[in-house]
């Protein structure tokens, strides 16, 4: 598989993630879509690392994985806390804050 195919795959994954965040209404699913976007970036990083022949991109992928794990923990804690209050994880029901 040539690197350019991997870049195209990464584009596709990123777009699926971004569209998912915009159209889905469940906070958990939206969050999973964000994770998909991060992983698409990881794929792009390692592919470019291979194309350029240096390690920067692979190092970046390491750090992104750690950051993503930390983000999952914080995010799920917040989503669980609001779920326990309202018994729903739908973002449409979170509508108290408006002008």
């Amino acid at each position: 598989m040539t690197p350019i195919n991997l870049i195209v795959l990464s584009f596709v994954l990123f777009t699926i993630g971004a569209v998912g965040v915009l159209v889905r209404r469940n906070a958990i699913v939206m969050f999973m879509c964000v994770e998909l976007m991060l992983n698409a970036a990881n794929l792009a990083f390692v592919t470019f690392a291979r194309m350029h022949g240096n390690l920067d991109g692979q190092i970046a992928a390491f750090f992104v994985m750690v950051v993503a794990a930390a983000e999952v923990v914080v995010g799920l804690a917040i989503i669980v806390s609001i779920f326990r209050t309202r018994r729903t994880a739908s973002v449409d029901d979170a509508n108290l804050l408006k002008y």
């Binding site: 390491f62 750690v66 794990a69 930390a70 999952v72 923990v73 669980v80």
Partner: protein, 119 residues
């Protein structure tokens, strides 16, 4: 060839440890058989019916799993360091100890705040 001596030694130690554990548990462990023990372990058909829809997991599973992932993922930084340990020398050791201490502080916090208590 010298390159593979440490790996061979490691394999030997691992094999030896596994054998030791098996033998030791056969010799020293209590032998009480009952119905649950003779059932298939994580294979075959599930003996007890599951709740409809798969059931819900208590929040404590989530808590433990999340804590595990955070601590687990820190370990990936140890691999590159281990590979270049010789080149980095004392500097690398000191920095890594600082890193581990920072992770340990988080662990102490979780422990003191009851994050590791199952009940």
């Amino acid at each position: 060839m010298n390159l593979y001596v440490p790996i061979a030694v490691l394999a030997l130690i691992a094999f030896g440890f596994a054998m030791f554990s098996l033998v030791a548990s056969t010799l020293a462990g209590p032998k009480r058989f009952n119905r649950a023990k003779s059932e298939a372990y994580e294979c075959g058909i599930e003996p007890t019916p599951q709740p409809v829809g798969g059931g819900r997991f208590p929040v404590k599973y989530y808590l433990t799993a999340m804590l595990f992932i955070v601590f687990d993922i820190e370990i990936i930084f140890l691999y590159p360091w281990a590979v270049t340990f010789d080149a980095l020398g004392i500097f690398g050791l000191v920095e890594m100890v600082l890193f581990i201490v920072a992770v340990l502080v988080a662990y102490l916090y979780v422990w003191r705040r009851g994050g590791l208590e199952w009940e």
